[in-house]
Symmetry: C2
DNA sequence: TTTCAAAGTGTATAAATGACACAATAATGA
DNA sequence: TCATTATTGTGTCATTTATACACTTTGAAA
């Protein structure tokens, strides 16, 4: 366990009484790299088990602030596109993961250097209602950092998800469904890209989210017509062809659009 | 206080330890009557203060089941269209209602015939994160029934909301915004009407939700083309004109539509 | 100069939208 | 029977949007 993680655990244990009871946050953090949608997952120690980065809500902290905090802790990123999508409150969502999962979790808890194992147990094993947030982040800018339960924090291809803790697969599914809906009335996909990007990059993002091919020229027309992209100098690719233009996101025009309302569909 | 309410309070106090801590449910229950959208609100005792019907979640009960239970308790209705729309978790959402509101609440609590006032206080005055559900119900079929905090439970015109408890006005606003979005991809409005209704009724519902006039003949064409309305005998209105057809909702066709996906916009 | 992908433009078809007009249909009551 | 009335169905026209595809121009590199 790294020093950083020891500190996190210490902080956690010392503030365990300051958490809002029975409520957690789970973040579906999506990034885009290499033409694929990636999700930030946490690999558990001593087990081939992965989970969504999550956390708890302090008594004096709003739900949303808690989500931002978790995001910051896991990715180092500050202000980001973050959107609540659903609250999961089934009774069985954690009491009955698979039997092997229960064993893995048990193992992990036992190996933690805890000051007060009983109090830890009482906290971690209560029933949690969890609120899901999804965040779209610039892959390049993140510095994934595991929490004290994780061995490492990693970007995983959405198409190749490993075994996930509890109901985390269902949470991801719901997040994606919501994302697709939001895409129809908010040009959400932009937050997934670095500051400067090509139209083609953006199209690939849309295709990755919507899971279907889009027509290049129509896509370009539509997006540019919305008018919140600024064109910059070209990028010299070194390839034997015309270099694509770079664009960046014009937040001011975008906010005007938001107030006047967007009708948008692909 | 009625016998019924006394029973409810008794039940509540006896099971106060069985509630999931710090979490509540608030229901935005909408009905349609007299060409207006109505919302079911609870008037508090001894005060001109209204609130959304709400409740708490039992430890052994899912969030959704709790919402259904609250709905059943307030309206007598069983299976209904119910949809989670947001979870509200601001710190200040209840710690600082207006000063007068705090006094009103205090007054009410003191007048309750409680067995264990301290325990009641501890429960009711904690910080709650609340999950909002909206329900669309057939106005005619409901039998509103107040809980032990309410003097009466009543349908109020959405256009003329009274002073509301805490952040309940914001919760209602959010519910309506969500409803408008949902209307674009689910023919949600149907649940607001009695089993048999005229196309005109349905159009009025849409107009009430969307807050704008729709063209009669275009509306009719669109709705009928979707194919989940069954036409019945005419209704004799007693007026000196052709009677309108009655329609009912064909659940089977509707479910087929759901799986194949609906593209729908007004 | 050739080659290649990017970028821009054209455009034909189909579909949906919105705004109206108009005729046919029943129910009532004078 | 006939005038009155609101419902219902249909037509249509202008506009916009979606979808698919073709073709040209551009600019960087070999």
């Amino acid at each position: 366990m790294s020093d950083d993680q020891k500190k996190q655990l210490e902080e956690f244990e010392s503030r365990i009484d300051q958490f809002h009871p029975g409520h957690s946050i789970d973040c579906v953090i999506l990034g885009y790299h290499d033409r694929h949608l990636k999700i930030l997952l946490l690999k558990w120690k001593h087990a081939e088990l992965w989970s969504l980065p999550g956390g708890f809500v302090y008594t004096h902290e709003s739900l949303e602030d808690a989500a931002y905090r978790v995001l910051k802790e896991r990715t180092g990123l500050g202000s980001i596109f973050l959107s609540q999508f659903h609250t999961f409150g089934d009774v069985e969502r954690q009491t009955a993961p698979s039997a092997p999962q229960a064993v893995m979790m048990e193992n992990l808890y036992q190996k933690l250097p805890l000051k007060d194992p009983v109090r830890f147990r009482n906290w971690i094993q209560q029933r949690f209602i969890t609120t899901g947030y999804f965040a779209l982040v610039d892959f390049e800018k993140t510095e994934p950092r595991p929490d004290f339960l994780g061995e490492r924090c990693e970007w995983i291809d959405l198409q190749q998800l490993p075994e996930l803790l509890m109901d985390h697969d269902a949470i991801i599914k719901k997040a994606l469904a919501q994302l697709r809906i939001q895409l129809n009335y908010l040009p959400v996909g932009l937050s997934l890209l670095p500051e400067k990007f090509t139209i083609q990059d953006l199209q690939k993002v849309y295709e990755a989210i919507l899971q279907k091919k889009l027509d290049r020229s129509n896509f370009q027309r539509k997006i540019l017509k919305l008018g919140f992209l600024n064109r910059h100098e070209k990028q010299m690719t070194g390839a034997a062809n015309k270099a694509p233009f770079l664009y960046s996101f014009d937040e001011r025009n975008y906010k005007e659009l938001l107030t006047s309302g967007i009708g948008f569909s692909m």
